[in-house]
């Protein structure tokens, strides 16, 4: 009996140690990020729909000048679990972009306004054009950005609000901007957001902080569009499994009764 409890005790100590390792690893790395209490955090987290709409507005009016979100189609904007614009709104949003289609019956390629089925139109036709317009720096695609950095949402928010004058003695390379949270603290992207950069249709005051949170939430949705489905299904699966495990345990005890 002693052996068994010893093993269990040791496993618990080990498990605790394992759980602490990543925390210790984190502590030893760079600047601590600003933490936001996101609506999508936690097992019951959902997106805040008005926030996603505002976030899309910030993306469209500011970030879209330089960054693509190539894995997202216009139609996604009206789908469940996202900003849920109406289909009519999505048609209007799409029509603002132009795509090349074809060949038509005459064998010619032609331009037409984008439709909901199209991918969201990119600002630049290719990476070289994007670099040429940005001092040689490439603005990365943002579709997956919220999952492509450690603690993605907190990181995005921190970078967007982390611009400052370079501290004394720090020499900035040509065309670079000081940012507390970007690795190396010199970023090629000029500060994209400042107070009242956009005018929100829902009347929310467009502070830097508000816009940074809104666009980050929107980018979390572009990276993880099935997050709400996942949380909802997870709850059902968990409830089923726990119940099933309980029944199995009772059966197990019953089957073994004659052996003890």
């Amino acid at each position: 009996m002693k052996n068994k409890s010893q093993i269990i005790l040791r496993s618990i100590v080990l498990a605790a140690g394992l759980a602490l390792l990543p925390a210790a690893a984190q502590a030893s790395e760079g600047v601590a990020l600003k933490q936001v209490d996101w609506s999508f955090n936690g097992p019951f987290g959902t997106f805040d729909r008005p926030q996603l709409k505002r976030g899309f507005q910030v993306y469209k009016e500011v970030c879209a000048a330089c960054h693509s979100i190539k894995f997202v189609s216009y139609r996604n904007l009206s789908e469940a679990g996202g900003p849920q614009f109406t289909e009519a709104e999505v048609k209007t949003i799409a029509a603002a972009g132009n795509v090349t289609d074809g060949p038509n019956a005459d064998g010619e390629m032609f331009e037409r306004p984008a439709e909901p089925k199209d991918r969201i139109v990119k600002p630049f036709p290719n990476d070289n054009a994007a670099r040429a317009a940005n001092n040689g720096a490439l603005p990365p695609d943002l579709s997956l950005m919220a999952k492509a950095r450690k603690n993605g949402p907190d990181y995005l928010y921190s970078v967007l609000t982390g611009y400052a004058e370079p501290p004394e003695g720090v020499v900035m390379a040509d065309g670079m901007n000081f940012n507390h949270y970007f690795p190396g603290q010199q970023i090629a992207m000029p500060q994209p957001l400042s107070d009242d950069q956009v005018t929100y249709e829902d009347g929310t005051p467009a502070t830097l902080d508000q816009m940074a949170q809104d666009v980050t939430a929107f980018l979390m949705w572009t990276a993880e569009p099935k997050l709400e489905d996942r949380h909802k299904l997870g709850l059902k699966v968990m409830m089923f499994l726990v119940l099933f495990a309980g029944l199995l345990f009772a059966t197990y005890k019953r089957v073994w009764k004659d052996q003890h």
């Binding site: 080990l14 492509a148 996942r230 997870g234 345990f249 059966t251 197990y252």
Partner: protein, 413 residues
């Protein structure tokens, strides 16, 4: 498999089948009537859990292949297509990617169980060796699969790992061009790894059959490590262990589901959500967590070839454990010294895993080297010597006696 079956077909079709292909009596003998020690604890449920994991990987994998495109220009976006456009594609992919981690977690528990209870000792050496073959195939399958996503870590991980083969003298260059199908990791590499990723799990399934066949000759070891003396020591596999294993699998599914539904990317590298780019090297190239201990050993040796050799020996030495351990007593319960060293070794493996995730510099390098040295010390010195110097505790007479004593003590308390 050996004849434990008193299977008596009664219905006409079963009798018909039985005379031509006695597969039902074979399965009855292996999974129903099979006599199993009555004192197995929960660490013994991981065999069943591993079968579950293999099944999950194969089923989800076959579905992923229906939507995946193995081409450098399309692989990454086809994975995103699965995540966004395929019905429940996100679920299938998250089960498959987290499933690989769960598979390794289970296999490590299963292996350490074997090390603790001496399950590799006579007459079960071959079961252990077949298990090691499965483990090596699993690492191959997982590595191939990870490359398919064609993210930054896929590409750079593949570059680092394939380059290791280039360090082998004489045949290194040949092996490299065979793996790459060209002069670097590129489309031909992706194509051959895709083919192999589909193949290896079925090889694993084959070796699993051998593993279980070999197990069913002597039967299970047990926490006391003593032999079964007679029918009073055993119960039939069904229903006693079918119900216990099923319960354990469902508990495991709960743990698994926590990752799939609530932290699907916690075990992955964020860099793999950036499409592969041969012009930009990530700051830290790290393998998935389950390969980190061996990666730490590789990097703790300054010379590339020697590092590869050390890593190779670190894996190969596990095949030799049945002969490196000179003690006749199986279970660590009755080996007071080995028991301490078992835990030290487990801690050493965890330290190596931690170091594998860190840059190879400064203190990390020093700790990594000490832990690497201890890893080899454990197998080549401690294991053989312990068996010679240790005085084991007296072994119980039989399993049934020990079980009776225990439940008597339980009732008295």
């Amino acid at each position: 498999m050996s004849g434990h079956s008193e299977f008596q077909p009664t219905s006409a079709p079963v009798k018909w089948l039985e005379r031509r292909l006695p597969i039902l009596s074979l399965m009855h003998g292996a999974a129903v009537a099979f006599p199993t020690p009555k004192n197995l604890n929960y660490w013994w449920t991981f065999g069943g859990i591993l079968m579950f994991c293999l099944g999950v990987q194969i089923i989800t994998g076959v579905i992923l292949v229906m939507h995946f495109t193995p081409h450098v220009d399309m692989a990454f976006s086809s994975v995103e297509h699965i995540m966004r456009d395929v019905n429940y594609g996100w679920l299938i992919r998250y089960i498959h990617s987290n499933g690989a981690s769960m598979f390794f977690l289970a296999v490590y528990i299963h292996m350490f169980r074997g090390l603790y209870y001496g399950s590799y000792k006579e007459p079960r050496e071959l079961i252990w060796i077949l298990g090691m073959v499965i483990y090596v195939l699993m690492t191959a399958a997982a590595f191939f699969g990870y490359v398919l996503v064609w993210g930054q870590m896929s590409f750079w991980g593949a570059t680092v790992i394939t380059n290791l083969f280039g360090a082998i003298p004489l045949v290194g260059d040949f092996l490299l061009s065979l793996l790459w199908g060209g002069f670097s990791v590129d489309n031909p590499t992706l194509n051959r790894l895709f083919s192999l990723h589909y193949l290896v799990p079925f090889l694993i399934a084959g070796v699993v059959v051998l593993h279980i066949w070999a197990l069913h000759v002597p039967g299970n070891n047990n926490p006391l490590g003593i032999d079964v003396k007679g029918p009073q020591d055993t119960v039939t596999f069904h229903p006693y262990y079918t119900i216990k294993d099923t319960f354990a699998v469902v508990m495991f599914m709960i743990f698994f589901a926590l990752f799939v539904f609530y932290m699907p990317n916690a075990l992955g590298e964020p860099d793999n959500y950036i499409e592969a780019n041969r012009l930009s090297t990530p700051a830290h190239i790290v393998p998935e967590w389950y390969l980190l201990p061996f990666y730490a050993i590789l990097r703790s040796i300054p010379d590339k070839l020697l590092g590869v050799i050390a890593m190779g020996i670190a894996i190969f030495v596990l095949f030799l454990v049945p002969w490196l351990d000179t003690s006749k007593v199986r279970s660590a319960r009755f080996r007071p010294l080995y028991k301490q060293f078992f835990w030290l070794f487990l801690i050493d493996a965890l330290i190596l895993g931690y170091i594998g995730a860190k840059p190879a510099e400064g203190m990390y390098l020093v700790i990594g080297r000490i832990a690497t040295a201890y890893y080899f010390l454990h197998f080549f010195i401690i294991l053989p010597v312990l068996g010679l110097v240790e005085t084991p505790k007296p072994l119980p007479e039989s399993i049934s006696k020990s079980v009776l004593d225990k439940s008597a003590a339980g009732k008295a308390a």
